[in-house]
């Protein structure tokens, strides 16, 4: 079967984990790895796996896009360079999946709005944040049953799984996640909290989702909706589990989740990173299927 060819920008932990996942895909084929450091281990690893690699940044990839048939690119670099990367690749008709917090394209949380994005032929979609991918499906699971006035998520991640970029600008996480909890999760108001825990051995990512419903919660319907959503996320993150809940306490509905990663390149405790690469892969697969079915033809802007 024909596969859609992809490029990964950023050969760090996320980019490399993404590479492992893309190599298993039935519809995607990773062909290029893009970095900026000639000594990068990630570039060397990608070359060993048979990918072409450049240390000249996106400019090193551009001349090869057409000949190598690259149609989808993943950006796992930083918010600061994403806009420029996206502009250059979009101009060549390459669709961009943004794993940085830049969020110049619409937010994508696969079980909620991926189909809508694919249908609209978006050229750039943003994967929100790790905490967003882990929790927004569960906000939506409540808000699709009844009105949610306020939703709040608490993401607790292992210290070892939080890179220097996130640490330097942790407000970006809280702000972006809170915005998407409201906009995509369907709550009137959103709040996000992140806690970093240094315990050894590292703890597996935990996420708590609190929703305050406008009217008393309809427990049975919410339980069924949560169960259904759990199964949908588990399709691409098998280690996504509901540890406890949903708990009903007055108008509060709380779900306690755990996200264990697949352990591809990143360790299993780093479910926060795994759910990002898994969601990005899922997103690309949906776009790839649309392209292969002839329903979507990315074209130069």
């Amino acid at each position: 079967m024909k596969k859609i060819r992809c490029a990964i920008i950023g050969p760090g932990n996320i980019g490399t984990d993404l590479l492992y996942k893309l190599r298993r895909s039935a519809v995607l084929e990773p062909v290029w790895m893009v970095g900026v450091d000639p000594a990068s281990e990630g570039l060397a690893r990608a070359r060993e796996m048979g990918l072409k690699a450049t240390d000249q940044g996106v400019d090193g990839l551009l001349p090869h896009v057409k000949a190598d048939g690259v149609q989808i690119a993943f950006d796992a670099t930083s918010a600061y360079v994403h806009a420029e990367n996206s502009r250059k690749l979009n101009a060549l008709g390459v669709m961009m999946i943004d794993l940085t917090p830049a969020a110049i394209g619409p937010y994508c949380v696969p079980p909620i709005n991926l189909k809508a994005h694919a249908g609209k032929r978006e050229m750039n979609v943003n994967m929100v944040t790790c905490g967003g991918q882990a929790t927004i499906p569960m906000v939506y699971a409540v808000s699709r049953v009844q009105k949610v006035k306020y939703a709040e998520i608490v993401a607790t991640v292992a210290s070892k799984s939080v890179g220097p970029g996130t640490r330097k600008n942790i407000d970006e996480f809280t702000r972006t996640t809170a915005g998407a909890v409201a906009q995509i999760g369907g709550a009137e108001q959103g709040k996000a909290i992140i806690v970093i825990n240094p315990a050894e051995p590292p703890l597996i990512m935990r996420d708590t989702v609190h929703c305050l419903t406008a009217e008393p919660p309809r427990a049975r319907e919410i339980e069924a909706s949560v169960k259904d959503m759990l199964a949908q996320v588990q399709q691409y993150v098998p280690g996504y589990t509901l540890v406890n809940g949903p708990v009903f306490d007055g108008n509060r509905v709380t779900s306690f989740l755990q996200v264990e990663g697949l352990g591809d390149f990143l360790p299993k405790y780093a479910g926060n990173l795994d759910i990002m690469t898994a969601a990005a892969t899922r997103t690309a697969e949906m776009f790839a299927e649309e392209i292969l079915n002839g329903r979507l033809a990315p074209a130069a802007a």
Binding site: D171, V195, I196, H210, G245, F256
Partner: protein, 347 residues
């Protein structure tokens, strides 16, 4: 111990850490009256915010009776001599909250992180300093890091622009030697102009002794709470610390009788229960658990039938850090299920 003549700045916590035993329900009027009393008693610095700092209002930590902005705008203009500080935990509050608090007229911003995660405080400390605020790096749960590790983290905060670094015994777990080792190393290795502070909890009744050990090792700011307010068994009780300082010749500038009147006449009457060492707050100090977890564990006991003490011990075993209040209910549910208990009121 000879501390004669040393000048120490006491920093009152009753209107911030004291928000925990009040479930953040201290009213604006109560804040005004207590802050006014502390000001008149010569307390130089008073912290005012939600118990979990700016932006702490949440399902997870509790919504306060008023917004941080309302509290700050009500208290700051009232004070003749005392300055006001605000606490900020990156991951909960953001630089937007910091800017709001600066507009309200705070003098001091204290940026708090878990003791091994100082690098999440860079943007907040740098901004605080840039705005000309007295900027403090606040290393919480400091018993969980060895002195050398704590020094490494303190240096990060110092490099971002903090002019004062706190060793924060959030669990009330430390013994005086633990305090001396940490403050002593920081005093020897940080820049001489960087001030040091100590924040204690009274869970093992060590608040005053630990604060004295801190002063002896070089700390010049000491957190206390009037009337023994504060999470767990409270912070170092302000009036007791002042009395001891007077006896030892440590200069605080605080009037002992005035401040003990504030404790007795203004703080004690607003308490919902006596803030003291009981089997649960003792457990916090004994097992090294974040003091703010206390009321959450009590509520989980009432709802799920698992004793608060056992929940707290389990949280300690699982090395929970400040901010993980959500894990208290989660842990209680899991423990109740393992024990075959049904939640109160369940069908």
């Amino acid at each position: 111990m000879n501390l004669q003549g040393i000048e120490v700045k006491v920093h009152d916590m009753s209107l911030r850490d004291g928000m925990h035993p009040k479930r953040h329900q201290i009213t604006v009027e109560q804040m005004k009256s207590i802050a006014g009393g502390l000001d008149a008693a010569g307390v130089p610095l008073i912290e005012v915010t939600h118990g979990d700092g700016l932006g702490g209002a949440s399902v997870n930590y509790g919504f306060a009776a008023a917004s941080d902005e309302d509290y700050l705008r009500a208290v700051i203009p009232l004070l003749k001599h005392a300055k006001v500080s605000a606490l900020l935990l990156p991951g909960i509050g953001t630089v937007d909250h910091l800017k709001m608090a600066a507009e309200c007229g705070i003098h001091t911003i204290r940026v708090a992180t878990h003791c091994t995660e100082a690098d999440v405080s860079e943007q907040h400390i740098a901004l605080g300093r840039k705005m000309g605020l007295d900027t403090v790096g606040f290393l919480m749960m400091a018993h969980m890091a060895e002195p050398a590790k704590l020094l490494e983290q303190a240096r990060l905060m110092e490099s971002y622009g903090a002019n004062c670094i706190y060793v924060t015994d959030s669990a009330g777990y430390m013994l005086p030697d633990d305090v001396s080792a940490r403050i002593g190393l920081l005093r020897g290795k940080l820049k001489p102009e960087t001030e040091l502070g100590f924040h204690g909890h009274h869970n093992l009744s060590m608040g005053v002794s630990n604060s004295l050990a801190a002063v002896e090792a070089g700390a010049r700011r000491i957190d206390c709470a009037c009337g023994g307010m504060g999470a767990g068994a409270g912070n170092t009780p302000l009036e007791v610390f002042i009395a001891v300082c007077n006896r030892m010749g440590i200069r605080t500038g605080v009037d002992l009788f005035k401040v003990s009147d504030v404790a007795e006449d203004l703080v004690t009457p607003i308490l919902d229960f006596p803030v003291r060492i009981d089997r649960n707050s003792l457990t916090l100090g004994y097992a090294g658990v974040y003091s703010s977890f206390l009321l959450f564990a009590r509520r989980a006991e009432a709802k799920y039938g698992v004793p608060a003490r056992e929940i707290l011990l389990e949280l300690g075993r699982r090395k929970m850090v400040g901010g993980q209040e959500d894990m208290i209910e989660d842990t209680a549910i899991t423990m109740a299920r393992q024990r075959g208990l049904a939640p109160a009121g369940a069908a």
